[in-house]
């Protein structure tokens, strides 16, 4: 994330502050050996509104790599998506981007 310098003067003292944007939060879905692949695709489509191709790619990433990053952005929305995925029966967590 790029920092935007902010410069102000207070009397004779020059003050420079850097405004930093927060790192995004990632929503992670974890693999399990029981969930049918088509169910994962349907849940991704319903929750995120992604295309069928994108949902299938994400499902295969979960299946082959054990986990997949399915959404990235602000913390509140990440938590909300994580809750929706868990309510739908998929194992999911959030983590802040490194």
């Amino acid at each position: 994330m790029k920092s935007q310098p902010v410069t102000t003067t207070e009397g004779d003292v020059l003050v420079e502050e850097a405004v930093r944007t927060q790192k995004p939060w990632n929503v992670i879905v974890w693999n399990d050996p029981v969930t049918p692949m088509t169910v994962v695709v349907v849940i991704f489509k319903r929750i995120f509104g992604y295309s069928n191709n994108k949902c299938t790619q994400l499902m295969l990433a979960v299946h082959h790599e054990g986990r997949a990053l399915v959404w990235s952005g602000g913390r509140e929305r990440a938590e909300a998506y994580c809750v929706k995925l868990q309510v739908s029966g998929l194992q999911s967590t959030i983590e802040q981007d490194n």
Binding site: V34, V83, V87, G89, T93
Partner: protein, 144 residues
């Protein structure tokens, strides 16, 4: 299990449920168990329903946990109320799908079925239950 499709999307948008008495009994039990697990902290499945949202925190955001509990209960309640219906609307069918999937994940977690090998080595009764749930889910997902 009978042959043919268990769930069929009709032209009027509703989903016809064609499962037999055994299937109805199985899903009725699944819906009741999810609801009971959500409400009873001592239920075998309760921990499976309340996994962490952010593992780096000791305590997750209470509002997120509340939203999860409320939504899970709502889905399980709606699924339970419509368990004997022959035709489901979209909201009811989604409640069935999510509650059956929550059931499947809860069974997998409580029985320690976390890998393909553990699943293959599980006892016959558990395996039959898991396969039945998977069959329902597979066919119901095809309607969306």
């Amino acid at each position: 299990m009978p042959g043919g499709k268990l769930f069929v999307r009709r032209r009027d948008g509703r989903i016809e449920v064609r499962i037999n008495d055994y299937g109805r009994t199985l899903v009725r039990g699944a819906f009741a168990n999810v609801l009971a697990a959500e409400r009873d902290p001592d239920h075998e499945w309760h921990l499976a329903l309340s996994g962490p949202i952010d593992p780096s925190l000791d305590r997750d955001d209470p509002l997120s946990m509340l939203a999860r509990e409320k939504d899970t209960s709502t889905n399980a309640e709606l699924a339970g109320l419509s368990v004997d219906e022959q035709f489901l609307n979209d909201t009811e069918a989604w409640a069935w799908l999510t509650t059956l999937q929550v059931t499947l994940r809860s069974v997998a977690q409580t029985k320690g079925l976390l890998t393909d090998e553990q699943l293959a080595a599980s006892d016959e009764e558990v395996l039959t239950y898991v396969r039945s749930l998977q069959q329902f889910l597979f066919q119901l997902a095809d309607c969306f």
